[in-house]
């Protein structure tokens, strides 16, 4: 770790400690004031109680209440003792705006207060959902995350701050949540969720929110919730799309057809690993993931206030999948889901997911969802290091040492256009990888003819057919696939023209050649 990172972390830690101390001071002062007031109330004799006077006759109701209000105003000696009311005086004030709603009311607030919620993932979904649940006065909130705060998280992960970059996400979130509502008990679980820890962490909570970012964790969380009988609010977001489901609700034992469906009932097969795109690669708009996180908090509040752990639980809503498409004319669509799948691996009578299987590690979620091997599609003589490519750009052939002219080669950048527009190497030609992969070669070419756009760039590459062709991308994977494709299309003139990729892509270029090249 660099000195700067270490200092940053220390500052963040001190700031967090300071915030906690300030909070504790404020609370202590508040309590002292309260107990002093109480003591005063106790020593004062009850002198005049307007409530004992019978004013029922001959006085208009409105007037009477006005009189009472005026009489009770002033010395405050009629304040009932705190224990007379089911909620704390401070709680009536803090939660007043939601307390007066029939959807919550006193019973709902008491249910919130005695409920413990586990939030797995304190990122784009977890931050807003935790903020609203802590704000609403849930009794206990557990936070699971093994990551630390990065600068690129801040545009959407609203509990973290610039000063807390480098701190663990769990610690950072606790600072923010504690200042939002110090009455909520926060429980840190600052490690990545794994199959052997899931059951022991989940068992102490009443309801779980899946705010994670990978298929493997989604199946693990769903299975654990089914095994322990916890309702699950699951959400996800990528680019401009989001999904939301309340699963395993009601949380009846596996095999009970009246229970709500689980994640496996809806998505029995994981997506192929190479098709899984992270927010880092695909992008994400803050308010899109924020919307999904806020909706998760809303669904959790609905489940809790209806009575998550009471036997007299209200009827659960019919299971549904909400689809959010931020840029479509119809932003929200609600799909009616089926009941539990009769052959579901987790929640049916034929379930193979058991606590023993989970604990023993025989359920391999990473394997189930598949992993992507680092792309290694090319031979060494089809590749060039960034250092050698840099020499070539300065006008010298790194292998032969001979002088070469500046336009001695063609450089193709296969990042998507929007990324190419952010920053690119001078003289490079942009052919997005999506366009490259759409193009069919061989037998497929007959079925899908090339479009005009594709004809244009193919012609352009053919026109400079005598020059070696270098392909670059962001990380060095797409560039390899492109080289293979271009060769399959015959652009290497049967091996006469050199086509190869720049190893490690623009990331390696930034790390080893040009430190000023933007890191996005």
């Amino acid at each position: 770790m660099s000195v700067i990172d270490s200092l940053r972390q220390q500052i963040a830690a001190c700031e967090a400690q300071l915030a906690t101390l300030r909070q504790q001071l404020a609370e202590a002062e508040h309590l002292q004031l309260q107990s002093r007031r109480q003591a005063q109330e106790e020593v004062q004799p009850a002198t005049f109680d307007p409530l004992t006077h019978d004013m029922s006759y001959g006085i208009h109701d409105d007037f009477r209440s006005e009189v009472f209000a005026a009489l009770s105003h002033g010395d405050g000696s009629e304040q009932p003792p705190r224990s007379r009311w089911p909620l704390d005086k401070m709680e009536y004030k803090r939660y007043g705006r939601q307390l007066i709603m029939p959807e919550v009311g006193l019973q709902g607030q008491l249910r919130l207060k005695k409920t413990s919620v586990l939030i797995v993932g304190v990122g784009g979904l977890g931050c807003p959902s935790a903020a609203y649940l802590v704000g609403a006065g849930v009794g206990t909130v557990g936070l699971v995350d093994g990551d630390t705060v990065e600068e690129s998280n801040l545009h959407r992960q609203i509990l973290h701050s610039t000063a807390r970059v480098g701190m663990t996400k769990v610690e950072s979130a606790m600072v923010a949540l504690n200042s939002l509502n110090p009455n909520v008990k926060l429980v840190p679980h600052a490690a990545r969720l794994t199959p052997d820890t899931a059951l022991s962490i989940f068992k102490d909570y009443d309801i779980v929110l899946d705010c994670t970012d990978s298929p493997a964790s989604r199946y693990l969380i769903s299975d654990t919730c089914v095994l322990l009988g916890k309702p699950l609010v699951s959400a996800s977001a990528l680019r401009t799309d989001g999904q939301l489901m309340v699963l395993n609700n009601p949380p009846l034992p596996p095999g009970d057809a009246a229970g709500g469906p689980c994640y496996r009932c809806v998505f029995p097969k994981p997506p192929p690993p190479e098709s899984v795109v992270s927010c880092g690669d695909g992008g994400i708009l803050g308010p899109v993931v924020g919307t999904m996180g806020v909706l998760q908090a809303l669904e959790a509040i609905k489940v809790i206030t209806r009575g998550v752990h009471s036997s007299v639980r209200g009827p659960a809503e019919a299971p549904s999948l909400l689809i959010f498409s931020a840029y479509a004319t119809q932003m929200f669509r609600t799909i009616r889901l089926r009941t539990r799948k009769p052959k579901c691996a987790a929640c049916s009578a034929q379930a193979t997911v058991t606590p023993e299987a989970l604990n023993s590690g025989s359920l391999d979620y990473v394997q189930f969802c598949g992993t992507i091997n680092p792309v290694d599609a090319l031979s060494p003589n089809e590749r060039i290091s960034v250092e050698n490519y840099a020499k070539l750009r300065t006008g010298r052939n790194p292998i032969t040492g001979t002088e070469v002219s500046a336009d001695s080669h063609v450089l193709v950048d296969v990042r998507e256009k929007v990324q190419f527009d952010l920053c690119s190497l001078e003289g490079s030609v942009n052919i997005p990888f999506s366009a490259v992969s759409r193009l069919r070669v061989g037998d497929d070419a007959v079925k899908i003819p090339a479009t005009e756009e594709e004809e244009r760039w193919i012609a352009e590459l053919k026109a400079r057919g005598d020059k070696p062709l270098f392909v670059v991308c962001r990380l060095g994977n797409d560039s390899q696939m492109t080289v293979k494709k271009l060769k399959a299309m015959g652009l290497d003139n049967g091996g006469q023209r050199w086509i190869g990729d720049i190893k490690g892509g623009l990331r390696a270029w930034r790390e080893k050649v040009d430190h000023e090249f933007p890191d996005y």
């Binding site: 970012d213 989604r218 999904q243 998505f267 927010c279 999948l321 498409s325 119809q330 799948k341 759409r438």
Partner: protein, 96 residues
């Protein structure tokens, strides 16, 4: 999302998330009637590779109702896609 009103003798297919990326479209019209069990095969003809890379992990709905196409004996395969139906291809989104 594209127009939901289908021309005569067609139903509309809506593509979400990875399905939209793969097809390059958010919706299109296909000729009706068609058994739901034949849908993936038809889409594979139109977009080679889409079945393995996208469709097999997707949820499929007809008129906002989930249908089960998982497994050989899936009862959803017999659902008939009729003129004017709205079919949605919903890949799991797992990021967050």
């Amino acid at each position: 999302m594209g127009p939901s009103a289908s021309p005569a003798g067609h139903f509309v297919v809506l593509y979400f998330a990875a399905a939209a990326s793969y097809t390059g479209k958010t919706s299109e019209h296909l000729a009706s009637p068609m058994a739901a069990g034949e849908l993936f095969g038809r889409l594979e003809q139109l977009y080679p590779g889409i079945r393995a890379r996208v469709l097999e992990s997707c949820a499929v709905t007809v008129n906002l109702q989930y249908i089960n196409l998982d497994g050989d004996d899936a009862e959803g395969a017999r659902v008939l896609l009729k003129e004017g139906d709205e079919v949605a291809i919903i890949p799991p989104v797992s990021s967050g």
